[in-house]
């Protein structure tokens, strides 16, 4: 009979066997745990990246406008905010800024620049390999990064909206109280918009070769045209559902908006919310599927 001689160094280097698992192999963490771990790593990375300077500039411009309006009113220079000589009250200015600046520009742009870069940036930096060799589903990497995008943008954009509300609504003797329900709706709406556009552009970023161009064409080309045309095409845009939830009147900024308003067919709010949540789930699922199956070839 031979004796088995156990080398203590070998014994120490071998990881302990997980209870109930196959001998010598660790169990992969569950999907959600993996996603939260990626979220944790990506959040700081995303928040303190150079892209956040762009986010800060984007979100800071409405605030700068609001401060300018307040200063002008305080020193009595402008006699209130006026458009073509007509005095406009604070709540109307606030509503217009939510429509024109946040909903129609800032939210889609943030979705494009952050959403398309979730996977693309890792590919460009050639660091995607290190993520995909981990024993976690690839889609968990995407979901974790998406959650990091959502937290980054929500916790920058929503406080800026609240500060803007406090700056702008009291202009022209406007009342904070009357605009408060609209503010709460705006915050929910913008959060939902960031989530929806982020999911859509995460899919575009995972699927298309030139996701930034594709995203810009979708947001500022297809959506604008589809909203103006009569018929069912507008239902293939996110803006159709988001705009139906806005509590403020659509500002008149030209013939395009007037035409949009003429052909406006507003879905019920519950339908819009359900469609937006559905879009988030579908696009995230599609993006996860693409990431799972696609082979990323890193350029040398």
């Amino acid at each position: 009979m031979s004796e088995t001689h156990t080398d203590p160094t070998v014994a120490r280097s071998t990881p302990p066997v997980a209870p109930g698992g196959p001998a010598g192999r660790r169990q992969a963490p569950p999907f959600l745990t993996a996603a939260m771990r990626v979220f944790d790593l990506s959040l700081s990375q995303m928040l303190w990246s150079k892209r956040t300077i762009f986010l800060g500039l984007l979100v800071g411009s409405p605030l700068a406008l609001g401060i300018l309006f307040r200063v002008l009113e305080m020193i009595g220079l402008a006699g209130g905010v006026k458009i073509d000589g007509a005095a406009i009250s604070g709540p109307t200015v606030f509503g217009g800024m939510i429509w024109l600046l946040y909903l129609r520009f800032i939210v889609p742009v943030l979705g494009i620049f952050y959403g398309t870069a979730l996977i693309a940036d890792e590919v460009d930096d050639k660091t995607i390999t290190y993520l995909f060799v981990r024993p976690i589903p690839r889609s968990a990497v995407l979901v974790g990064k998406y959650l990091a995008y959502l937290v980054t943008t929500v916790f920058v954009v929503l406080p800026s909206v609240v500060i803007l509300y406090l700056l702008v609504v009291p202009l022209g003797h406007g009342a904070l109280a009357e605009s408060f329900p609209a503010l709460v709706k705006d915050l929910g709406l913008l959060g939902l918009g960031l989530a929806a556009y982020g999911a859509l552009f995460a899919f575009i970023g995972a699927f298309f070769k030139y996701p930034l161009v594709t995203g810009l064409v979708f947001a500022f080309g297809w959506e604008q045209i589809a909203l103006v045309l009569p018929g069912y095409l507008r239902r293939l845009t996110l803006a159709y559902y988001l705009q139906s939830l806005v509590p403020h009147a659509m500002p008149q900024d030209g013939l395009g908006t007037a035409l949009q308003a003429l052909f406006r067919d507003v879905p019920p709010p519950l339908v819009s919310v359900a469609c937006l949540f559905g879009c988030i789930a579908v696009f995230l699922a599609l993006a996860g599927r693409v990431v799972e199956r696609k082979e990323y070839v890193l350029e040398q």
Partner: protein, 344 residues
């Protein structure tokens, strides 16, 4: 998550919480009207009945001295003849002696017509006005220490006229004159001594409070306007259900006007916004080919949240100049046509 990230998220949550708390306190708590703030509107509101359907105000001095009035006089071809005649008879120079005017339309009572009241503040020659009134058949009397001049509106029905059909003028206070039906004027005098006025009508005063420093404004129930306008049924049925309305104008060179309507529900407000957008787009399309007409059209801004629809626009002196020029051109064309062709 790094410490820096944690601090950032904490700061964001703090800003959100503080901002939403301020809004929540303003929405649910607020400051009761009149506790720290001055009473909105002119002091003459104390003469207006609490159930007035419509209340209006005009700062006569501002309006008379404004550039827009000068342009309108030019457009209408008005002269000072009427003003001079009025001054000769009453001693009142409309442009200088009347500071502001408050008017109201009373609540509808049974089948009777709505009665009105006008309260003017300024400088009036009481004895001269009284003499003029008596000369024209009015009766002078005292009512609760105030001088009241009463005249029956329709002399053919003097014998059968109800007491309320007579018109009256009263000097209700230093530099304050009230004019209207005799009942309304008597009630105005009663209100000055403490009975309830529109100041206790919170719905109306909320609208008045939004008027701030407007040169002229009118607020009230839309039903009263609709009834007085006597619109055809086909038009009246299609107007969205509007409960309250307010209109204000600020005169400073041109005139900036804002009209607000509060509807029964958000659906009616959305319908009203769609109607306004439609008319605006139609006007722009019609004026698109004519630069002259474009100059005369004000740029309409649509606003408002929830059940409130607000429309703002400005009437500038340039627009009035364009109207004067257009009127002049139309007159020149008319003169150049040979006689007899004008009727074709």
């Amino acid at each position: 998550m790094t410490a820096k990230t944690r601090y950032f998220l904490f700061g964001s949550v703090l800003v959100l919480t503080v901002g939403l708390s301020i809004g929540l306190v303003a929405y649910y708590g607020g400051v009761p009207g009149g506790l720290f703030a001055a009473q909105p509107g002119p002091a003459e509101l104390k003469y207006v009945p609490a159930d007035a359907a419509v209340v209006a105000y005009a700062n006569v001095r501002d309006v008379m001295n404004s550039q827009i009035r000068q342009r309108l006089r030019q457009f209408e071809g008005m002269t000072d003849e009427g003003r001079s005649e009025f001054k000769d008879k009453t001693g009142i120079d409309i442009e200088q002696d009347i500071d502001h005017v408050v008017a109201c339309m009373g609540a509808k009572v049974a089948e009777a017509e709505r009665s009105g009241l006008v309260v003017a503040r300024g400088r009036f020659d009481q004895s001269r006005l009284e003499a003029l009134a008596v000369e024209n058949g009015a009766k002078a009397e005292s009512y609760k220490g105030k001088r009241l001049l009463t005249a029956v509106a329709d002399k053919e029905h003097v014998a059968t006229a109800a007491h309320g059909a007579s018109m009256a003028i009263a000097f209700v206070g230093p530099g304050v004159v009230a004019m209207g039906s005799a009942d309304m004027v008597r009630q105005a005098i009663d209100r000055a001594e403490g009975s309830s006025s529109v100041l206790t009508n919170q719905d109306m005063m909320k609208l008045v409070g939004e008027m701030n420093d407007a040169s002229m404004w009118a607020v009230g129930k839309f039903d009263a306007l609709r009834a007085e306008a006597k619109l055809p049924t086909e038009v009246s049925e299609r107007i969205p259900a509007i409960t309250w309305f307010s209109a204000s104008g600020h005169v400073n060179g041109g005139m900036q006007a804002t009209v607000k309507a509060e509807t029964k529900d958000e659906a009616a407000a959305n319908n009203l916004r769609d109607i306004i957008r439609g008319f605006t787009a139609l006007a722009k399309m019609q004026a698109g080919s004519s630069p002259g007409i474009q100059k005369m059209l004000p740029d309409i801004q649509l606003g408002g949240d929830g059940k409130v629809v607000a429309v703002s626009f400005a009437v500038t002196t340039e627009m009035l100049d364009a109207m004067v020029a257009a009127k002049g051109a139309a007159g020149a064309i008319k003169k150049s046509l040979p006689t007899g062709t004008e009727k074709q």
